[in-house]
């Protein structure tokens, strides 16, 4: 069966190094369907204008597009109010905002931030540095061999000193989904907050921030078919209201006096400067696209592909797969015998197959896995089994090639 969505993604219909492109790096960034590209060019061609300040017609249209996208995002993650949706440059900026504002305002020596070694650097360093700055203790939930958490062990670590849990929803290396709802219940029982890096989860599964009962949730547009440069911080209104902005400038002020200023109400108090207007409109179009397909369909599709890939790749002798045996979403991280992942990625690239190789911005996790680097194939809606068959064929060829040159 041919993939019914692939036709919507113009970039996928090209040859790379003489072969049809097989794009298996959506974990790094996803491709964009026509409606997203068109929504952004329509903005630039038809109503490019600054938001919130112009009295003129284009300004009103731009503001409607920009704030309309915020409402789409609110609905997409089921937040209570658009005031809880802060536009950021991406997941990294969104996490830094929480770690710089909330954590530094609320933590003191003796308090604890708990995370895991499986975090992407962008959900690791901001907390590490917040701990250093406030004197809080930086701790790690122990990971099981497959990257999952044992909630009994987790429960033992959470105490009234635990003020923040900072954790990924879906691992960009292991494909593991963490039990966010349970963690939220545990941390709320001791009066702390949970901040969740949803960069990998938001593109692949339905996220309901009210059901999960998370305090903060961050994700990026570009990994979910939207453009780069736009991301989202969700925060509970009561928490966002007590937080101070960390960027000051136009758009975010209420009244500016010589020696003091006051801020606009949420969400704009965190959005200093001319915002990412085309990016927000593009993300809104991406959400329309995702919703039209259906997040449940997408989740099932990506899960099936990852399972199929793990099965097929697992049959290659000498290939190691990292992460859980089942319940894997959207990606397979692996190593092919002694062949370095860069070499694997170069041979695959010569076949038109794009995979990621390296430490995936997860140096602590690579040390935990005792691998200096790994290769990763990640999947999305526009991939199908034929892409995985091409990958498996490419991997066999890689093995054969290095078997030959190594002799």
């Amino acid at each position: 069966m041919t993939n019914p969505w692939k036709k919507d993604f113009p970039i996928l219909h090209q040859q790379v190094n003489g072969h049809p492109l097989v794009y298996l790096d959506s974990g790094a960034t996803s491709q964009k369907p026509y409606p997203v590209i068109e929504a952004m060019s329509q903005y630039y061609e038809g109503y490019n204008s600054n938001v919130h300040r112009g009295v003129h017609t284009l300004g009103t249209k731009a503001t409607d597009g920009f704030e309309g996208a915020r409402e789409k995002i609110r609905k997409f993650i089921n937040a209570k109010s658009v005031q809880e949706i802060i536009y950021t440059r991406g997941t990294t900026t969104a996490i830094n905002l929480v770690a710089s504002s909330y954590a530094r305002m609320n933590l003191q020596p003796g308090d604890e931030i708990i995370t895991t070694v499986a975090e992407h650097h962008s959900n690791f360093i901001p907390w590490q540095q917040a701990a250093k700055a406030t004197g809080a203790t930086f701790k790690f939930f122990p990971l099981e061999a497959d990257g999952t958490l044992d909630l009994a062990k987790v429960a033992e670590m959470i105490t009234p000193q635990t003020k923040v849990i900072a954790i990924h929803h879906l691992s960009n290396v292991m494909g593991t989904v963490q039990p966010i709802k349970e963690l939220a219940q545990m941390i709320h029982a001791v009066g702390g907050v949970i901040s969740v890096d949803g960069a990998q989860a938001a593109p692949h599964m339905r996220v309901d921030v009210q059901d999960l009962d998370v305090d903060f949730y961050q994700f990026s547009g570009h990994k979910m078919m939207g453009p780069t440069g736009i991301g989202v911080l969700y925060g509970k209104k009561a928490l966002l209201e007590q937080m101070e902005p960390i960027e000051f400038g136009g758009e975010m002020i209420d009244f500016v006096d010589l020696y003091d200023s006051t801020w606009k109400e949420l969400p704009w108090k965190f959005e200093g400067g001319t915002p990412i207007i085309a990016g927000a409109i593009g993300l809104g179009a991406a959400i329309d696209y995702l919703e039209a397909v259906g997040m449940d369909t997408i989740e099932e599709h990506d899960r099936k592909l990852a399972t199929y890939a793990a099965e097929q790749m697992g049959q290659i002798e000498g290939l190691t797969i990292y992460g859980p045996k089942s319940e894997r979403t959207g990606l397979v991280t692996f190593n092919l015998g002694d062949v370095h992942p860069h070499d694997v990625a170069t041979v695959l690239d010569a076949e038109g197959i794009a995979v990621r190789a390296g430490h995936h911005c997860c140096q602590p996790l690579m040390r935990w896995l005792k691998a200096s680097a790994t290769a990763r194939a990640s999947f999305y809606l526009y991939n199908d089994e034929s892409d995985i068959d091409a990958l498996v064929k490419g991997l066999k060829k890689t093995k054969e090639y290095f078997g030959h040159v190594f002799r």
Partner: protein, 142 residues
């Protein structure tokens, strides 16, 4: 673009049987360099005496290109003056940029095998890591 341009037999030989891999006691300088985007890492030790490099050894983690390049570099620089070593770094960098350099100038014939890396832009940083470590070590000491 053929893979055989990149993975020449001599490169794979240095990768599988690296020369000067390890550490030694009386090093004059030691340099640690990472390629933070991909995780490659090299630790280079040099023994410098009377303006010359008398010994070079390395340890590290990386792909075939980065480790074979380190192996070749440590072979090539032995006995060179600081100036000669820096000239070699420059020559190698220009070769990686695809410039038509005189490969006869390399004191080790094997290095010519790395010319193909220039056709694989994503891999140039792999090849230059060890040479950057050499440059840093010599500049720190001279």
């Amino acid at each position: 673009m053929s893979l055989d341009d990149l993975y020449r037999r001599v490169i794979m030989d240095h990768y599988q049987h690296p020369r000067n891999k390890g550490t030694f006691e009386d090093g004059t300088v030691s340099i640690e360099l990472n390629n933070p985007t991909c995780g490659d890492r090299i630790s280079l030790q040099l023994h410098l005496e009377e303006g010359k490099i008398t010994k070079a050894m390395f340890t590290g983690e990386g792909c075939s290109i980065s480790l074979s390049s380190a192996s070749m570099m440590t072979e090539a620089v032995k006995g060179l003056t600081y100036e000669q070593a820096l000239e070699l770094v420059d020559l190698f960098s220009r070769m990686m940029l695809g410039e038509d350099v005189d490969v006869e100038k390399f004191p080790l014939e094997d290095i010519e095998a790395l010319t193909g890396v220039a056709k694989f832009p994503a891999r140039i940083k792999c090849a230059t890591l060890a040479w950057k470590a050499l440059e840093k070590g010599v500049n720190e000491h001279k």
